[in-house]
Subunit: 397 residues, 2 copies
């Protein structure tokens, strides 16, 4: 039976990397692959209390349908947190989403026709490419350095692609590289958006996980023409299993995204939204985030120290000031995908995400993403040391 | 600021009916508009227990990310229920969805290019049109009678539209009409799908809410070529606020829908899936559904009796043997949208859904959908009586 599929399905394919990482689900493997938060930090007692209160208190409402954009109270709470972060907005600028991922899907649907150009960092978040691909875009990419996207390279890219409609960026502790876009570049990015008439999608799920240095204002806070759509998420600051994120944008764009949300899945879980709202009311989420930050900072330093001690000198790595990832760069001919399948998995019993998958156009084979958020200190030292020894022994051979 | 939108956004517009029903949110209005289940039937104590157990027992897992298609155990539980309903399937044939609505979005994405034809009942479920519209389909419609879609009219439609790719149907207690597709027509529908090479999307959230007569086998159970995708939902048999539904189809199609699900929102809420799975384990959902059925049956009879007593003779209504809706047909020139805005809301303080919105092509103005599931017996009698008196007085005038 051959079903006649839509054309867009040529762009929707199983990922070889996912398959490879699935083999890494073996419990004897230490995987630094997944971008999972540390579940030992989930505030279970408090969550138990807010779910109990939401069901026992007003479960008839908390388990019924609700408004598609999310309950007013939760949207007000989110807007209030955004204002504290320097973004002028109210509840009508907020759309509650099924995780930040849904924002990627809906924004692409709203803006992108087949062959429209989306500009991304190079490399960029794989999940964004997966979300954008069904709209059949073309990609144009921008070089990065330790301060994020290179604005001169962006301007060159825009001159080559003057009809580009959307620029996608993870400005804070980027996935996969861990680097952060500087303040000056954020301002210049908005100026370029105004001049070249495109929308900026600012996707920043790790923003509140800063371990050192000063917080840089959001790109949205520099927005003068309603061109920036901000995506936030409760996945890394509360739990991913609630599947809650949000978009902030102009009322016009939020209303349109809300219509697409209604079409796609009616609404987020009423109960999860009620529980998140009650959590924000009853507990100090900022204190909770401070605990996450302390823990991840320690893990990050432990991972980087272990890399310094055990990896060959010719492997470079980024030193992120927040987030969950460091990005490895091996000598040019070193193929991290092949190395993982042939050596890292069977010999060191360690997994990572090979970097090739994060490049929208020409895939570079000599990178890898490591996440330090999931594992215990012991597992980090054990896994990184095993990987370092393997690399050293094979490079020396 | 004019943002350059995707072409599909011309098909994504606010609905005038939604606006009208929003005015009906006034607490003095009795609205028979929403397709909401009766929240007084939610099994709150049991739900409180399964959420408590899911968080206190294994919250680190229940609040973490999980596999995109849904946990194996829940997919097995759903497959087991489907097999009891005569559908041969296993866990790999099941995809857990953010409510049935997400299935409409994903199936359209998988199959429909711009101007591809989708065949629907006439009238059909408005939410399906809202989900399909971003794919920019054309619609072809099929006449209905008390046994659902007229198969001769379908065959005529297919001959006119031989390239039609997808047929959408709500075969059990259809939304909006309440009618059920007969067994013989289900068999013939599958034969026509094989002959004309299209996919059948069998959307049946009300299937288990049968109040009288024998259950008719699913269309999926007649499927010989893997052409039928079945959509089920926990919204009407457990609660809508958990946002859980499921698709059942061939492994090939389920895998493709799973990739689209991953792209759209990563996964459903891990916690809600864990709670639903535990509920199915610990409690007798069929006993719970029997309670819902008894209650809705009583409400349906109360509503129909009150219509018989108070409505003018020239208003026809369907007598559904299950589900949540009856469908009114007024004399041809009677405009139910105008009547609601001008009279039903301000004078009787009653809302319904005007029928025009359920017609994909030529809108018929003289219908209305009434839901009997939401309100108390008293409110049903009060609201229907007020509407009947208003109709009688105005028609007599």
């Amino acid at each position: 039976m051959n079903i006649r599929l839509a054309n867009r399905m040529t762009r929707v394919q199983p990922s070889a990397i996912r398959e490879l990482l699935r083999h890494g689900a073996d419990p004897r493997i230490i995987s630094f692959g997944g971008g999972y938060p540390d579940s030992s930090l989930f505030p279970l007692e408090q969550l138990e209390a807010v779910y109990h209160a939401s069901i026992a208190g007003d479960g008839r409402e908390a388990l019924q349908y609700t408004v598609s954009n999310g309950p007013l109270k939760l949207r007000e709470q989110i807007a209030s947190r955004m204002r504290k972060d320097g973004v002028e907005c109210g509840a009508d600028n907020v759309l509650v989403l099924q995780g930040g991922q849904q924002g990627l899907d809906l924004v692409a649907k709203m803006l992108i026709d087949k062959d429209d150009v989306i500009v991304t960092e190079n490399p960029t978040f794989l999940g964004a490419l997966i979300a954008f691909n069904p709209c059949e875009p073309r990609y144009a990419v921008v070089k990065m350095d330790d301060d994020g996207m290179d604005m001169d390279d962006l301007e060159r890219t825009l001159k080559e692609n003057p009809a580009a409609k959307l620029l996608y960026t993870v400005p804070d502790f980027q996935n996969p590289t861990g680097v952060t876009l500087s303040r000056e570049r954020r301002k210049r990015l908005v100026e370029l958006a105004n001049r070249f008439d495109f929308v900026i999608l600012e996707d920043t799920p790790y923003r509140e996980l800063r371990y050192q240095g000063e917080t840089i204002p959001t790109i949205k806070s520099f927005d003068t023409e309603g061109r920036v759509i901000y995506l936030g998420s409760f996945s890394k600051i509360l739990t991913p299993g609630m599947r809650l994120g949000w978009a902030v944008g102009s009322e016009d764009l939020i209303q349109r995204l809300g219509l697409l949300k209604l079409a796609a899945d009616t609404q987020c879980s009423t109960l999860n939204m009620a529980a998140a709202s009650l959590f924000l009311d009853k507990y100090d989420i900022d204190a909770h985030i401070a605990t996450i930050r302390r823990t991840y900072r320690r893990k990050k330093e432990l991972m980087l120290d272990t890399i310094r001690r055990t990896f060959p000198q010719d492997v470079a790595f980024t030193e992120p000031s927040g987030g969950m990832f460091t990005w490895l760069t091996f000598p040019e001919n070193f193929d991290t995908t092949r190395f993982m399948a042939d050596h890292a998995l069977p010999e060191a019993r360690v997994a990572y995400v090979p970097g090739a998958t994060f490049f929208p156009l020409e895939q570079q084979v000599n990178h890898a993403r490591l996440s330090y958020s999931t594992h215990t200190d012991e597992a980090i030292v054990q896994g990184i040391t095993a990987l370092g020894r393997l690399l050293t022994s094979r490079r020396g051979a």
